[in-house]
Symmetry: D2
Subunit: 370 residues, 4 copies
């Protein structure tokens, strides 16, 4: 069904199509081949962004954008080359469903609080001293921490420290936008003031699979910050056993009051690929945005080799064959849209069977260096 | 935040934007105003399609498209004028999330079976004698019937009768497409053959809120066809009491094994607006596609009057103020994306408070007649 | 493990048991054989109560118990002979988990409203003219109707008609009692007064698997009364196809806003066993209380034949082999505790494999006639 | 309604009751006062068992019960004095819904594997070196560890170490028994042999609210053992903030794949009451069995003071007013039936309002010392 036969390209058919277009009508047979393919054929493409470029451009941005001049959040986002057709929307997102960015905040700066119907996550790449304030809790951020701001929660940032901080942002903006569900409110009065002790929630979850009794009722964000120290300990625990053939030593951040992913619509992982690890290839409906927290190596995505090192970002689109190779011990943080696929019951997974599970490299990605 | 200030239009900013674009990077401050509006501002617009036009074009299509020439389904779909920017996808959908069409099948024709990760519904406008076959059950269709084909079920159509049949189709194609979750399979061998008695499921649900005991475990489609006779009886029962101020006498088709809407992602309603009924205005996150099954009247959508009569279709986009007025007893069938909004917890509703709940008519929609 | 060996009957062991008893301690080895059997061995037994006896005793009760003398509800309940050991509780229930009774109300009588943490159901055996009032809705009762009063809802009865009415009651009293969850409140002021039109809910559900749109949010009792006329139509619809091998033509009453059984903890069925039908035997964890609404026949329960006719009640305890034989077209109403078994994930079912699925009759139950 | 009036005690009524009893019928008016009280009035009573007694009797039991003589599990259970009426069942349980015991295993002993439809938990009081094997994983037990054996999982114990081990057991035996849902299977061949590395599950959860990706699908017991070291760290984290007014610093053990309590039907807590802490009094539907892991103090239950010290066990029955006072820093482990109350939606909580939230002590419990 994916191919239109000759008849459908004939003049009589093209004339009919043109005729009904004036009534804002379209022929199914014209749309079907593009819409109902056998398997996901996303517009989003595999791509990789270099940390050097990102860092340089963020630094340049500090010269141009200052709080006084507006620009609440100094964030540069990843435009998937395959999604530029969405430009009529005014922008191109990072995957079909997710938006990701790097954000830089300087000492002394403040990003006023707001809230929105999109859910957000943050992964801290570099620096320290800044905080985000969510639900009245100032959460001070350190490298390797994972933070969440699920839909509907007020959040702002401040930086009483003394060095620049850089983090990754990821939101489900494209999804909420495409269904028409966007709501946004600025906080009435700049940045929200603290209502509970600093780092309250992470200090209440300092050990074990136990939960303060007051968090028994499901909450949207009982724990706002997942500290690197604990995540690392978890991965070191896992490391005593065999790695997952596709993902090495990988954990998912969870909401302790539901057991689901910490953020309603986005799952986030930390995974360790030990030096020399070469995963098997597979593909799945959901797409993933990776951030190399530490290490170096490469991934093969639909036959193309993408070399990565610390700080880089790359995208594995829906249903793309992919495998990872670590040249050093490598920690990858990633955000994926599996929870969205599950909402529509379209998640599938397939192992790469040929060649003992390893793809042939047919091309190498050439990053654009600054 | 929705408005960019002067600084963001300055040359230095525009230059920076242009510079980073070469690295497939974009500035958040550029995207935000378009993406994070205070309330839903869908691209989809209110629109109305006249039955006369649809009928004429469907009839013309019978001259051109025949089963021998390909074209499995003779369907013409509704292109929302606001969504033509999506044309790079090859098509424009009916709302942000839904696709709707009218389909005509002639006696003797067969539409081969297939299945897909999108969910479909059908509402029978006109004619009789054709069947759809779903899960091995031939379901003969009559005017006013509502049928479902949830995701993953094989379905095909045949027409052993002797008059043309026309129905409305509605699918969640744009949603599944935008997240990258499309799977499609043609049936290996033309149209599936019957495995259970004809009209099996609807005959097992001929009365009351009772369920055959074998359907206790949740099923995706225990009941495939909702007969008009029963739906009408339900509405006549409701009619003894006060109408809903926004929707008159309205019922939702449900899956008897879950209590949720019959189709996983699309809710469908039948509603009676009695002659003279003038609803209050309100708006909600979800969008709706209406099909006038019987009657005539008009709806006011964001101040614009849309006159409708039997057979017409019209769209109320997300978050649009709307109210209905019936000039005759009118039955409206409708499909909406509330279940999608609920999956993302973005459904909100707001009553129109001014002017005692009634909008001022500021314009009248001029339909394009054939 | 179910049998204690000789050692455990020795003096040294018995002495130890006696010794620790003074400290309110018991030996596990003593309790285990009674508590951890291979399969359910309920104390509840199969039993049958004759309508003639019930009717006579209810009539006698009208002479003794009058509203003036107290006795809000003139109900006689079924004491399972196997559960009389529970008498220290002051009563014996009908099954391990359920209490059932027949209740008679005379014209002019009123049963004041109350509410409790137990859920109740009612099936109307005989008579007309009385109403129950639940959630402010007077529901007039007719033969064959099924009514629910889930936990926490105020309910009372009145009888403005002119003939005695008899119905079956069934509640989860033993279950709520055994866990210690009983709460009860008398209505502050006699019987609740109507707040909505009479028979409001059943008139809102007069056809099809459709639901008034206002009932989309799950409710504990959107529909309070399931009319016989509709239930009968459903069963006649089913009758066109093959019967269930164990249960003939059987339907379960459902809550239209959840798709679950109408009452939270008790499932209720109506089933038709056509004349001459002889079901296969099986057993399952849950227990069932049957009321013969119409017809006659017999059931074989663990090899014992129980003859029944219109009006009789009988019990199939947990895990008992049972099969039914209809001598006339027979409608059986029944209440079971499957929803309780499901809450603890202990439901299992087993087909009787020997003798082509039919038990040998080893005994016949001799009812105690009045 | 809780009190029967004079009429119901009259001869005519008593005669009627006696008359219908022969037909296994009972009068509702006789049962109601006992069954439908305003609030829970459990038969279970508050009670306390002294460690010294338990220890001495367990030691005596080692002289009598040896694996050769039978007696798979050397466990002595707590008989609630208020539940001895249940003796016809052959035993009295600890609360209405739960059974608890202390179990002792000597070096070299083995308890063969079995499985059952009841769920079990274990809390390690004393000793080390023994393991339990669940789902093929040998879990070595240390003081303060919490272990689970949810329904249906094979489990057995072995002791390759060199000192006696004592732990607390708790199961939902009374609940499963009372509904008639007991299934039990001995393992075909003694004790199950290891299939995964020792302590596999606890080593996979060594830090943070993160979960190995393979445990995303809900599992009944992804984590089998909750190590004391981590639980203690969690409580120390909590200790930086204000204590819960009723329960000090308290955490609940959770299943990381569902966010619910670790065991399906029983919730387990560890709580620290710092020296000098005096909680406010409250009551709730659910009942609790406490084990004093460390420390000393007393609890006031329905006005009666129960002094406790390390190793003791005590019961707070349903709906009993209770408050705790710590004389030393005290760690209390506890098991409660809140998940059962939630299944029936009967959980309620009430603060003690009089006397600023503190009960008057009206009596002191006198423990029976050995």
């Amino acid at each position: 069904m994916a191919e239109k036969n000759e008849f459908f390209k004939s003049k009589i058919v093209r004339d009919f199509t043109k005729d009904i277009e004036q009534y804002h009508l379209g022929p199914l047979w014209d749309a079907i081949p593009d819409l109902m393919h056998r398997q996901p054929t996303p517009q989003a493409e595999a791509y990789l962004w270099k940390w050097k470029t990102l860092y340089k451009k963020l630094m340049e941005a500090t010269e141009i954008f200052t709080p006084e001049r507006g620009g609440e959040r100094r964030a540069i986002y990843f435009q998937n080359p395959g999604l530029t057709y969405r430009k009529p929307w005014g922008w191109a997102s990072t995957t079909q469903t997710l938006y990701a960015a790097v954000q830089l905040i300087l000492p002394g700066e403040v990003a006023p609080s707001h809230r929105h119907s999109q859910s957000a996550l943050r992964f801290i790449s570099q620096g320290k001293g800044a905080y985000t304030i969510v639900q009245g809790e100032r959460i001070f951020m350190e490298e390797g921490d994972y933070l969440i701001t699920p839909k509907g929660l007020w959040h702002g940032h401040g930086h009483p420290g003394d060095e620049p901080m850089i983090w990754m942002d990821c939101l489900d903006i494209p999804t909420i936008y495409s269904i028409g569900g966007t709501f946004f409110d600025p906080y009435p009065d700049g940045i929200e003031q603290p209502k509970v002790p600093d780092n309250y929630s992470s200090q209440r979850y300092e050990g074990g699979m136990v939960r303060p009794i007051s968090d028994r009722e499901p909450k949207i964000a009982p724990l706002g910050s997942y500290k690197w120290k604990q995540t690392e300990a978890a991965i070191q625990g896992l490391k005593r056993f065999d790695p997952d053939p596709y993902d090495g030593y990988a954990v998912e951040y969870i909401n302790p009051s539901t057991g689901k992913q910490a953020n309603p619509t986005i799952s986030a992982w930390m995974q360790l690929l030990p030096k020399g690890f070469h995963s098997k290839a597979h593909r799945h409906t959901h797409s993933t945005i990776y951030h190399v927290y530490k290490g170096s190596g490469y991934s093969i995505i639909n036959g193309v080799r993408f070399d990565w090192e610390s700080g880089d970002f790359f995208v594995v689109p829906n249903w793309a064959w992919h495998e990872h190779v670590a040249e050093k011990d490598s920690y990858l943080f990633s955000a994926n849209d599996l929870p969205i696929m599950e909402r529509f019951d379209v998640e599938r997974e397939e192992a790469y069977e040929e060649n003992n599970g390893f793809q042939q490299v047919t091309d190498e990605f050439q990053p654009v260096f600054v």
